[in-house]
Symmetry: C2
């Protein structure tokens, strides 16, 4: 390849004034500074600043040109850290997710990134590796960046971890930061409130309509409100229709493909004789469960139906196609940054943005003949 550092043939001479001692581009390291640009352009630091970043229309066009040219020549890149310290805040949004590898979170992340980019904000990402107790730690670290927004995507736990997170976030908010949560509205911050319970309930209704009567639930991590809400919404609805779900048909497990696999195994061990439907509280688990069932020769949906939650896009090609509750994940991410940034201080309570899921009935839960 024909690449080599250009050696910058442009600026052979010095600037108008004879300041020969500080040749901008030959310094050992460090990006060119605004001051160098100013000198190179023959204007003051202030003017250079205004031309480059200040609100337009205050600097004489000619000067502006000169500054811009100088900046280009020196390959100037404004030091955002310096700007942040001078202005008292950075143009950054900090995002905390459980696992970037999980399509649920990567879709949300994608939404956040897009929204941020449109607003000229840079995004910082941190992951808890599915350990909720890390949320507050990470927020604490990220706070140091003085981001404009901190978004935490991940289920509340309802335990002390929530309080720690709240404390950290409150401190951030007190100092002028904006916050948005993506989860349950159980903390005093703006939150994109995913209607897990309602979604699961709606799914249950449909399943009942389709003729299902004795479901089992792969209920996810007991510690996560998201899992609990989905489980409860589903179970309660079945119960309300006269089909209570026995305790031993509710099997916890990780929010992962393996979690679903293992939970399904557990379920089978307990005997799924009369189980006609397995509801895994998220799609990834549902797929794990389907794989397990297939492995042990239980046909889906003939022997047992399966439903999930989330409508993960990359899972739309599983066979049979998966009945689920669709969530607009990318939109949720986008909504979170908008919600955080919104200026209205109308209601006293922190704003909630409810997001409804949409039941998608597919091949994994065909209509069932009444028994």
């Amino acid at each position: 390849m024909s690449r080599r550092e250009p050696a910058d043939p442009t600026h052979a001479g010095a600037t108008a004034d004879g300041e020969a001692s500080v040749p901008p581009p030959s310094g050992p390291a460090g990006s060119p500074t605004l001051e160098q640009v100013a000198r190179e352009a023959g204007v003051s630091l202030a003017t250079a600043s205004r031309a480059l970043n200040g609100s337009t229309r205050n600097v004489r066009p000619e000067y502006r040109e000169r500054v811009l040219a100088a900046a280009r020549r020196l390959d100037y890149s404004p030091n955002l850290a310096a700007q942040a310290v001078a202005k008292g805040g950075s143009l950054t949004v900090a995002l905390v997710v459980a696992d970037i590898t999980d399509p649920y979170f990567s879709s949300i992340t994608s939404g956040v990134l897009h929204a941020a980019e449109e607003l000229g904000l840079i995004t910082t990402l941190a992951i808890t590796e599915r350990q909720p107790e890390r949320e507050s730690v990470l927020v604490r670290v990220l706070r140091g960046q003085r981001p404009k927004v901190i978004i935490v995507a991940g289920s509340r736990t309802g335990s002390a971890q929530d309080d720690e997170l709240a404390a950290e976030l409150a401190a951030f908010g007190r100092n002028g930061g904006r916050v948005a949560l993506i989860s349950q509205p159980s903390l005093p911050f703006r939150t994109v409130d995913i209607q897990n319970g309602a979604g699961a309930a709606a799914l249950a209704e449909r399943m009942i309509q389709l003729g299902y009567r004795s479901p089992a639930v792969l209920s996810g991590p007991a510690g996560l409100a998201t899992a609990r809400e989905r489980t409860a919404g589903f179970v309660d609805t079945f119960a309300a229709h006269g089909h209570p779900v026995p305790e031993d048909r509710i099997i916890p497990g990780e929010f992962t493909r393996n979690g679903g696999f293992l939970a399904a195994e557990q379920l089978r061990r307990r005997g799924l004789s009369d189980v006609d439907l397995v509801f895994a509280v998220n799609d990834v688990m549902a797929v794990g469960a389907m794989v397990y069932l297939r492995d042990v020769g239980v046909a889906v949906p003939r022997d047992v139906a399966v439903a999930g939650f989330d409508d993960i896009d990359s899972l739309r090609d599983v066979t049979p196609s998966l009945t689920t509750v669709a969530l607009p994940l990318a939109q949720i991410g986008r909504a979170a940054v908008e919600l955080a940034l919104r200026d209205d201080e109308d209601g006293a309570d922190p704003a909630r943005l409810p997001i409804e899921g949409a039941v998608m009935v597919r091949e994994s839960t065909p209509p069932r003949d009444a028994p």
Copy 2:
């Protein structure tokens, strides 16, 4: 929920000196500063700095305690931007990927995040949305953060875009930044060099061993070196064994599920009568192709075999399981940050870290009876 801002009952009194005019925690906004902490602790700014962030063992334990206590009391969070400007560089790694929603990139991202976290670095993420020309733009923006490392994960194109990226990266490097690319070693920077050609060639060898003779290739975006290398490695190997692949059996398309789907459709339109194997240059496309084939009643692998590349974890449950070339994606991400940070300036050439793929033969390519 029982949450309320704590109202901080701790600091009723003032500090030793009667500085009553600046009560730290009641200011309208802005995090407490080091100076406030110092004052609160009754020590100098410098001491506070040393106690909080400076290299240990220089501050009297008692003072250190006092400072730490004060910091905790005020809920102090060091301003990283200020630190960055004072130290002339931030503890940040900036990562550019094409699409965080693609498991290929989210896995790499995960690796980068883990490595960064272990090193106490914060990660900033930007996406090109699969537009290579955005790489240089994003790098330029990210440069402003004065990150310690910039990592660009994404195929080279071999066009002017590469040069723009190189220029931007060179400027960054010139100013002391570390760079790592994850792709082809065609630019003068350290790069995690994924052996696409070799991987595809190895796959082809195995396929030939298995009895395949007339493959078609869903070759991905013509503009991306990754796609070209994989295609060439595969095609050349078949040719070398006396089984040239006709031009019209090589069908470009996007690096996505839909890209694979559409390319497969295209392939069928051209007639896949005697095609015995479809090699999609990445797994996501392979799945798209399999779905298309299934939709039109072409059985995989009975009627035609399918192979992919990457070994995306979340795709391991497709049926039939997919033959592919496994890449240690998370490790690749981790390796990139380590490579960038490595201090040895041994060889004159920028360091290359070759990463080999491992052929995984699975159900989608069973042994084929000789024709």
